[in-house]
Symmetry: C2
Subunit: 414 residues, 2 copies
């Protein structure tokens, strides 16, 4: 088998697949809105299942709506799994998640067309609600799959309109009969756009992803006192907006002073009553902290909380905080990461080892099987943005690398 | 006439009036929502007009909906006018505006019951849309009355639902036939709750208001770049939220460093997309600057704009600004202010001279006739708040002082 030439993916077919799926939930000015379990997500899933069935894959759907397409190997056993997700944020692009799914589909189509059968089975996974834009937490489908979140709890999750995951899964026809946690995988490889500017800035074609940085999301609530902006002396104020601003400025300073891979973002903030001439009674805002180093992340959290506490006290504002999400940094499987690097080398691609800044289904899969990721460059580092873009040659290079990694893994001797 | 004892206002009747008007637009948990030209405002006006007519006042309504109640004097001529407004913010209290109107009504009722006739006529004015909570600008009725805003422009103003002032005035039946600017007033005295903590803190019963501080409202818009919070290195960010936070923190520092009567408030702020894991592409926020000194206010504006420009440039974010409101500080009529102080003294009240922190109809009237204001303490300095409160004895003391100032002014020899 090693003597046979490595089959080449069909570039135009992959690009056409990306455009076709991108039509489902397309936004008028470009980009896609395919929120998890929306009508558009249902149509996207229908399209995926139809494509999988057209290739002759055996399709299975589990109780949280994860979709699996199976291609038998020469031997039985746990499949080498590839995959990602097809849900998007409200103003998403064509590539986040979709690329990994469609490249995996293209890998299977290529192998089938070439008449190649791997030693171990292959599988394609489409995980439910990776984005978390409608139902929290994000990475829900893969988290349930690995046993990190009880199925019933996930199904009971409600969106802002009070609709449950269960009701929406049933409405779009994607609550399947397969128990969650099935199929058991030999390993998992996820191809993804970088969603950041590093590969482009470094002029490197492939990111060999060694792990995912840890994530800490905290929602802070500040309770001050609303009062007239024109009659309340500065020294007598209890201004929730001021403290929120101080924490936002401090978060940036903290990331700067810690350096390394520490990131800090205040992305959401709501004031009330939110009027020009009324001192804010309440501010609710989020802080997103990330670091590849577990101890450093914990230190950043502690320092931020301490600062927020001091600032709130100085202004006479009541502070409370709740964790919205907390993931420790994840290290991918060293052997599988090495295989990605070797195959990138064999393909003649420039490549670099790097962490993933974003969360991905692969970090969940890493709990139950050897997992790794492949990154391709994002133009301008843009993602979660309708202008998200990756150059076609980069898309094809990544898909070819995925094929070669999957082949090597599935055909390994032991 | 000077030999006659000064009539005393009927305290229980004034307090009952405040409670009765406070029922119209009452909020379930306390407080009032009587937005300008709403159904509740219409009912409140009906109630006021009925009370005025029951006293035998001649009622006139002008083309912007200002309501005037006239009590003839011994001589003809421009009336000594008292008044304020009865519209409220969405979650307002019982006293802001309403107190000045109902105390003036009580003054007229007291004089009528005592059979006292002043030399010059007296009038009670209820100005349209002082709050500006629904239609901007605020102080609209008095601004149109003094010729500061063309009638047609005011009538064409739309609320957030697209309804015009004209349509809403007509709907509630308060576009009157009287030309704006009529009646010409001899002078104007407005009694108002302080809406700030100074009198309470100083333990002083009456504020002799010397003028109104200048107001500068600016809306800043920052255009950054939305990007993934987990993949975008700190140094490559264009974070609109960060710059908004920096400006909010700077505004406080500016007020602190300038000292004196400089106030600075960031009360409203909107981020977009406003998501925990997306760097803010856009921040729109307001800065409210106030000072009794014109040059200092201009300096604060200039420094704030300069800082915002530098902060935006440092972050690579585009800054734009638009003025939402700009009023120069207003000095009230020295003679009328002195009369208020004298009468407070005569009444045996502790009193202090002070500026008004908030905008009031009196600052508009000051453009066309000698004007002044009387403040009574606000408990906790709270206003624009359903818990707005002034102690009954303070309410009665202020009303009695208003009566004595109006009597003295209307009966003066020349």
């Amino acid at each position: 088998m090693s003597a046979a030439p490595t089959p080449q993916i069909d570039g135009p077919r992959l690009l056409a697949s990306l455009q076709a799926l991108g039509q489902i939930g397309a936004l008028p000015g470009g980009g896609v809105n395919r929120l998890a379990l929306s009508d558009a997500d249902g149509l996207g899933r229908d399209w995926m299942v139809a494509r999988m069935r057209a290739l002759g894959l055996r399709v299975e759907i589990d109780a949280i709506g994860n979709v699996f397409g199976h291609l038998a190997g020469v031997e039985d056993g746990p499949p080498v799994m590839m995959g990602s997700h097809i849900d998007t944020v409200r103003t998403g692009g064509l590539y986040d998640g979709n690329y990994g799914v469609l490249a995996a589909l293209e890998v299977l189509a290529t192998l089938l067309k070439a008449g190649l059968r791997t030693r171990r089975p292959l599988a394609l996974a489409v995980f439910t609600n990776e984005e978390g834009a409608r139902f929290q937490p994000d990475m829900m489908g893969s988290l349930v799959y690995v046993g990190g979140l009880p199925l019933q709890e996930a199904l009971a999750t409600r969106d802002a309109d009070g609709l449950t995951v269960l009701a929406e899964l049933q409405r779009i026809g994607y609550q399947g009969p397969q128990p969650v946690g099935m199929p058991v995988a030999d390993s998992y490889v996820e191809l993804h756009i970088e969603q950041g500017p590093v590969l482009e800035r470094e002029g490197v074609q492939i990111g060999v992803v060694e792990g995912v940085q840890g994530i800490s999301w905290t929602e802070f609530t500040l309770q001050g006192q609303s009062n007239h902006a024109g009659t309340t002396p500065m020294a007598l104020r209890h201004d929730a907006a001021l403290v929120a601003g101080q924490v936002a400025v401090h978060a940036r300073e903290l990331a700067r002073s810690m350096g390394g891979r520490q990131l800090a973002t205040v992305g959401a903030l709501q004031l009330s009553p939110n009027l020009v001439n009324v001192i804010a009674q309440k501010a609710v805002f989020t802080v997103d902290l990330r670091n590849t180093d577990s101890a450093a992340l914990a230190k950043a959290e502690a320092e931020l909380h301490a600062f927020a506490g001091r600032a709130a006290q100085a202004e006479g504002v009541r502070l409370s905080a709740r964790a919205l999400a907390r993931f420790e940094p994840v290290d991918f499987d060293a052997q599988l990461v090495e295989l990605v690097a070797q195959q990138a080398q064999a393909l003649g691609c420039s490549h670099m080892r790097m962490p993933s800044g974003a969360g991905h289904d692969a970090q969940m899969l890493a709990r139950v099987c050897p997992s790794a990721m492949i990154f391709v460059p994002s133009v301008g580092g843009l993602s979660h943005n309708v202008r998200e873009h990756t150059e076609p040659e980069d898309l094809l290079r990544g898909a070819q690398l995925l094929l070669q990694v999957a082949l090597a893994r599935a055909n390994r001797s032991s």
